[in-house]
Symmetry: C2
Subunit: 399 residues, 2 copies
């Protein structure tokens, strides 16, 4: 957690170079005419490189280098599925052409960044930054800066931004760790964004929106519980839910804060990683009251639903990070436990959920697993892989 | 309704010609390297032709001819988004390459067909047929026949198949109009499919699955109410829900049976076209009990949720088929009424819902409407357009 929020800030300031020449690619051949619905990107974090992959035949198509510090990289996609927007820790924002496997554009837009999203209409790319604290909107084609929205909460004081998510109406919702706030910025007029502020509770450290884009939920580092904002009627304000969610009075050691992005909504229930506990919490999405706790092998990091909601897959913090468990959401119990490799950092389901890709950083591989039989379909070599992102995200809300 | 179920059967029998030469295209240029996530197909029913369109800039890219009788055409997509599978009324199944805008393969697989779907893993295309009654599975690449599953319900008697939907585990669920049955066929071994049968109630005329693929719901022509099958635990059998759904004792005139495919799930509620009444019914998706009725302008045909669930759009049967209404699902009332043209047959939302495309058959045009402002974004000419289908369907369950 500390490493995530308080990584050394490289005080590079803002260096925008929208017309930087594309670096050479390291591999690849003449661009092939092909669909883009089955493409994806695997982050090779140490090498500053991404693999371009496809999940129809589970293969690697090529690599693209020169993307900078990818230690907390996030990827979003253009609405046509051709381009990946790769957000690097060092503030780099790179538009990668998945068909030619070249860098189309690259800018360094901040000193420390943790991700970004694409607007509902696909025309804006918005980055969330720690340094300088705030969000910035760019033209999705050219990466030209359209709007800078500093997260200023007191004169000259700027908060780190976490949990950015795109929602309908060209809006983006996010939380301010240092300012205990949730904000909604509306980019309907991209050059004149309008921001609304809400009190969030103490130190929101991450956030997510439900798959329909209706609810924004922020996890709190400074107190127990979560903050819920109904984006369909934000005027009703933020309310506290699941007061038992958090470290509580026992002050459990927390090896890694869970990623809220991974929360699963399935069967009218939300499946949440408990903080510090070896449990997955289940909450009713109508009342937001806790409905069950499921014991698991370690401290959960990602808790992700298979797209049909029948299974929830869980990975864990150190020292249990070689393990993955599968929960059957109907039976509400673990039905499968296995180790795809060492230091399992991320999982990504194929769009309709027949397979899942898992990255094992310390085993230098990607494992592709059949979600019905749990059989290993394929292993692919990768250099310390972390995030895996498929283009179908570009067709969905809140990614 | 009668026209839909009892159209003249062309007793062609099975004519498979998987290697038919591709007809010439009528327009188009050299294939362009591009993403496929924003592509779509518009059916020009009278001309046996489709338009290939894109929704990033709302334009027509070209046309493909020679697809036969498209009077009740349905379209499914390959998992990579490159190919459209067009199911014609005359049993034609055509694989259209959206990038080259040519026919890649074409077979005539039945005498009378009303649609089909693609398996979860993308490797099978399954057609639902009236004549000969049953379903057939084809290799998605080659269109080679892999399995023929006749809907035989008594010696030598074959039912028309309706409501086919793909669900997880290579399964397809569908209903038999003439046999009062729901069936699930599992193609895990494509050449040795396994079929399970359930009693469905009288004359199921259409069906759908919920977006998570869990529930199959069949509308009944022969009695009031709907039949619900929980595909996560099919052994619990079919149960009757919404006994008030149907024509009831008044025997209202029904100008066109609603399409169940259009049902909307939003905010934990299902939004259903009432049969014969000028109403949209709202049912709670936990109890499946009716929770509200919303008066609308005519007999609803398609009732479709914007992808975020905040709006439900409704078109109508004759004589109100020039109108479209928009329901706000939070306020549960009509908030907008307009006429995009004459004989509005279909609607398709962009994947994240910022726009909707509407086909007006008798005005020979497609209207693209902004769903936030209701402003007309663009009109495109089309020859008696009916169905509109975007490639994002290929990434979703139950399409």
């Amino acid at each position: 957690m500390r490493a995530r929020l308080f990584a050394p800030l490289l005080a590079l300031g803002l260096v925008a170079c929208a017309s930087a020449p594309p670096p050479a690619i390291t591999s690849g051949s003449a661009p092939e005419l092909r669909g883009t619905g089955d493409l994806g990107v695997v982050i090779e974090r140490a090498a500053g490189r991404v693999q371009v992959v496809e999940h129809s035949h589970d293969s690697r198509l090529g690599t693209v280098e020169g993307l900078g510090d990818l230690s907390h990289a996030h990827v979003a996609f253009s609405r046509d599925g051709r381009y990946a927007y790769v957000f690097g820790r060092d503030g780099g924002l790179t538009k990668v052409d998945l068909l030619t496997r070249r860098i189309d554009r690259r800018i360094v837009q901040a000193g420390n960044s943790i991700g970004g999203s694409v607007s509902q209409d696909g025309r804006l790319v918005v980055a969330q930054n720690y340094e300088p604290g705030g969000i910035k909107a760019f033209d999705a084609d050219t990466l030209a800066l359209l709007a800078d929205v500093p997260a200023e909460y007191a004169p000259g004081k700027f908060s780190r931004v976490v949990g950015l998510a795109d929602v309908s109406g060209q809006r983006f919702v996010y939380a301010l760790f240092d300012a205990d706030e949730i904000r909604i910025t509306d980019f309907s007029n991209p050059r004149q964004p309008v921001t609304t502020r809400f009190p969030a509770g103490r130190q929101p450290y991450d956030g997510l929106v439900t798959p329909d884009g209706r609810y924004f939920i922020a996890g709190l580092f400074g107190e127990d519980g979560l903050s819920l904002l109904d984006l369909w009627q934000p005027q009703t304000g933020v309310r506290r839910i699941l007061a038992g969610y958090g470290k509580g009075e026992e002050k459990l050691p927390v090896f890694k804060m869970p990623h809220l992005r991974g929360w699963a909504m399935a069967g009218g229930q939300a499946w949440l990683p408990a903080i510090g506990r070896h449990e997955v919490l289940v909450a009713d999405t109508r009342s937001w009251a806790e409905s069950a706790r499921i014991p698991v092998k370690g401290q959960p990091v990602f808790v992700m639903a298979r797209p049909d909601g029948r299974q929830v897959w869980v990975n864990f913090a150190f020292p249990d990070n070689e393990w993955v468990q599968v929960i059957d959401t109907l039976e509400k119990r673990v039905v499968h436990t296995f180790s795809p490799g060492k230091a399992v950092l991320h999982m990504e389901f194929t769009p309709r959920g027949e397979a899942v890709w898992l990255s094992s950083r310390d085993s230098n591989r990607i494992s592709v697993v059949d979600t019905a039989s749990f059989a290993l379909r394929r292993e692919l070599p990768a250099d310390a892989p972390s995030g895996i992102f498929f283009t179908a995200r570009g067709q969905r809300i809140g990614f």
